[in-house]
Symmetry: C2
Subunit: 283 residues, 2 copies
């Protein structure tokens, strides 16, 4: 499995990913899921990848090949066998005027790779599906964040739902649901993303360090900060330790039950439980 | 979906469940998942149920019928068509000397019900599978907690892993992984279970109030405390509000990044990040 997330903020973008890949529990490897493209000064594209590793690697290789060809002045028109629909796709990341066009382009390549291997993979009972989170900015356009589905279509992060997740997303979602908003500082958002990663890692073996983190500031069109936190990172351990410690303290602040003495008063609580319905069938 | 959990403590047991049942998103209902049996003074059995509602209701109805027959002095021997293996099952909850026998008994009934409906359900592309958490105590035996799989076999909670979950278990697992231990007070454990429920409910529509909570004290052989918390419960809202508030404060306490001023010092941090590996390929 994998866990990647992106966080859209007024101030920019934060993106984080783990590095664990597994095919069964006895074949666990480390692969980067975060891929940064800055093919020219006017655009920065970060892709996070989840799903079948062969598919995601093939997609990234084709994106890079398209870029190489474009930078050498060769188009992709020499490629054969593309039908009319596929001809509409961009030549490379350099051709996009909008970020959503990049999402379409990545989605189309992903669909092509999956279609190529689907017949043989499905015979083997395997899935070649993959999903991506795309973040970045093209000069003259706002920064943005997209989740690209295995089918190649994409949804955007918005101010109402500023984060997007792929892979093993459930364990790390509650802190984001509780706290995430677009007005946060990039650093607080980055802390929240790392917390989401380390608690997921603790609860699920298929997500693991090192964790990659990248911060993009709005309109800078380059990576503002990037970190890789290995399992031995004191800071990484500090994230989990502090988070658990705070939750331990939180138990003290949560409501007392009606039969417990209230903190400081010695009297049992009733007020805060008045709307509690005790079902007579249970007694 | 459903979310139920049980927590084994030195002092007793805490069990919690939600009440949401859904068949698709346009058929959402409220059903109790917590069922308490105290067929005699020497035993207390609590069952939490997840999975196909028809299956779990049928299992509970058969358990109750067995009890009724036993209490009226009629055995179940009149039932026909049971093979030798099934004959080994208990006559009713009253016949168990050990809690694991109750787990076996519930598992056998669950398997019988599932086997009865599997041919028709699988034709309709539906699953009749169900799982259960069983907690309780029989006089002379320690209190215990079991998770009964759809196949009818069961695992026990232990001091190393004192909690068991069924249903939509991922969202609510990290706080348990961080804090759960058998030495906690029953009330703190109950708070932790409710937190696990309310954060799951916030992140997933298929888990919803009211939440049922029951506390069993070791060797009491009766329910010590039980609560039902509806959506309008001020206390329930207090659990989520306090939990989120504490996490918001936690962001202040998490490690500062190397490029940020350290709290109080005005100088950028380096010490705690020394083991960070920055991959040259990323720059």
């Amino acid at each position: 499995m994998t866990y990647c997330l992106g966080f859209l903020l007024e101030a920019g973008l934060v993106m984080a990913s783990d590095c664990r890949t597994n095919a069964g529990v006895d074949y666990i490897s480390t692969y980067r899921k975060m891929h940064i493209f800055r093919p020219s000064d006017d655009r920065l594209i970060v892709l996070l990848a989840a799903g079948n590793l062969a598919t995601t690697q093939a997609v990234l290789n084709r994106i890079q090949r398209d870029l190489d060809r474009a930078q050498r002045g060769r188009g992709t028109s020499e490629e054969k066998g593309e039908d009319a629909a596929e001809q509409k796709r961009l030549g490379s990341l350099l051709d996009a005027d909008y970020l959503f066009e990049v999402a379409d382009y990545v989605g189309q390549i992903s669909r092509e790779v999956q279609a190529e291997f689907k017949p043989v993979l499905s015979q083997a009972g395997a899935s070649g599906s993959a999903s991506f989170i795309l973040g970045g900015q093209i000069a003259g356009q706002p920064h943005g964040l997209f989740m690209i589905y295995p089918q190649g279509n994409a949804v955007m992060a918005t101010t109402e739902t500023p984060f997007l997740q792929i892979g093993e997303s459930k364990y790390g979602k509650p802190p984001l649901d509780g706290l995430a908003n677009t007005a946060m500082s990039l650093e607080d958002a980055a802390r929240l993303c790392l917390v989401s990663q380390v608690i997921t890692r603790r609860s699920n073996l298929t997500v693991g360090p090192p964790f990659d983190l990248v911060i993009l500031r709005r309109n800078e069109l380059r990576v503002a900060q990037q970190l890789r936190l290995g399992a031995d990172s004191e800071a990484l351990q500090g994230f989990l330790h502090t988070w658990v410690e705070v939750q331990r303290e939180a138990l003290e602040r949560l409501p007392r039950f009606p039969w417990e003495p209230q903190a400081g008063s010695g009297e049992a609580s009733t007020a805060s439980w008045t709307s509690t319905t005790i079902d007579p069938a249970l007694s």
